[in-house]
């Protein structure tokens, strides 16, 4: 069995003036993998291309080791997708939408579907048009999960959900990956949730990968630093050193420990260096702002 759920190699797609890629990304099997980035970074474009919506300009997409064009039927059978534009209103009632989607999947699991209905507080008789925004999102998730796909592609699945609903969704996702074979690729702006629930993270900005890796390693790699310099002394720019604020001889910055910045700073004359751990959200803001300034 292929150990990677998804492999992207040199993936490119442009909608002038936006360009995605070249993007290289490997999503390991059994992981909850988060794709984060500011609005317009290319998250939706990447997810759509993986799901076979739209043609790539260049590069390779492999899902379960299969070619994404030649084996697209096989891939769609084994994958589930939830996107912001899905609309099931034409089916009238929840039960009818379930019966319709069910017909496409030989692996549909009625018992699991019934369980998800309960968890998400949906009933077959609910009119889709009168469901709240959050309940419609839950219906999308239910339809994507019920055939127990090996890969779930979720584009902003928790937008507009209240805190309880969000927790229910993540609990279901953790349950879905529990046997160790299923993979979830999720894009989201809910960074506190993502930090807690995702195993891996990739940060993209303007179609390019800024940072990726295991969540704990990525977050632990950076520190918020405060230090002082002797009068009038500056610190040169360099990779892995992002100045957030400077007032007189007092500095606040983000440091990449992997690039040995704390030691380097001391060699540059930084004094009373104190380091504080960061959250994913702190890191996101620092990295995305830096690239905007540059």
């Amino acid at each position: 069995m292929n150990e990677h759920a998804i492999e992207l190699r040199g993936l490119k797609k442009s909608y002038f003036p936006f360009q995605l890629g070249p993007l290289d990304l490997t999503v390991p099997r059994g992981a909850i993998y988060a794709l984060i980035g500011p609005n317009g970074a290319g998250k939706t474009t990447a997810l759509d291309l993986i799901m076979g919506m739209g043609r790539r300009d260049a590069g390779d997409i492999r899902v379960f080791g299969l070619d994404h064009q030649r084996d697209s039927v096989e891939i769609k059978r084994r994958a589930g997708y939830v996107g912001p534009e899905l609309n099931f209103q034409v089916w009238g009632k929840v039960g009818r939408a379930v019966r319709f989607v069910r017909g496409f999947y030989p692996d549909w699991d009625d018992a699991y579907c019934a369980e998800l209905m309960k968890v998400f507080h949906l009933t077959a008789g609910d009119r889709i048009a009168s469901l709240s925004f959050g309940a419609k999102t839950k219906l999308s998730l239910l339809l994507a999960l019920s055939h127990r796909p090996e890969l779930l592609l979720l584009d902003e699945p928790t937008t507009g959900l209240d805190a309880i609903s969000k927790q229910q969704v993540f609990a279901e996702l953790l349950k879905a990956v529990e046997p160790g074979e299923r993979t979830v690729l999720i894009s989201s702006h809910g960074l506190a949730d993502i930090e807690r629930f995702a195993d891996h993270v990739a940060l993209i900005k303007e179609g390019r990968l800024l940072l990726h890796g295991r969540m704990d390693e990525v977050v632990d790699r950076f520190r918020l630093a405060e230090f002082f310099t002797a009068d009038g002394r500056g610190i040169p720019f360099r990779d892995g050193f992002i100045v957030l604020k400077q007032e007189g001889n007092r500095w606040q910055a983000v440091l990449d420990q992997q690039q040995g910045i704390p030691g380097w700073l001391q060699s540059q004359g930084a004094q009373q260096l104190s380091l504080t751990p960061m959250t994913l959200e702190d890191l996101f803001i620092a990295l995305v702002r830096e690239k905007e300034a540059a």
Partner: protein, 132 residues
Amino acid sequence: MSPDRKQLMLGPISPAAPGALYQQIVDGFKREISEGRLAPGAPLPSFRLLAEDLLVSVITVKRAYEELEREGIIYRRQGLGTFVADHGLDRSRTAKLNTARDLIRQASREAAEAGLKPSEILHLARQIIQGT
């Protein structure tokens, strides 16, 4: 569902509590083991089951187990699972003792910085322990 699932109750795991989530899980296990609620030889839940229970990522649980294994508090048997080590109780207590020593050291430094003399620090400690 495995039977070990409901018996285990770690303390609350929250981003609002001090320390990384994985560290909170490590501390939770040490407390369960040092207070005898998890006996030597007792099985631990799988990464994925515990992740689902605590609503944290699998990576977080894996990292906590790696840390506990490194400290010799638990051990892994390929294909069988993870268990509390025979010396888990002693090691958990030793780890707790080391943490307590560090905290007392920190507390006495803070008290000294607040201008207390050693005899006053001891007096304060006695008052706190006796709850007066």
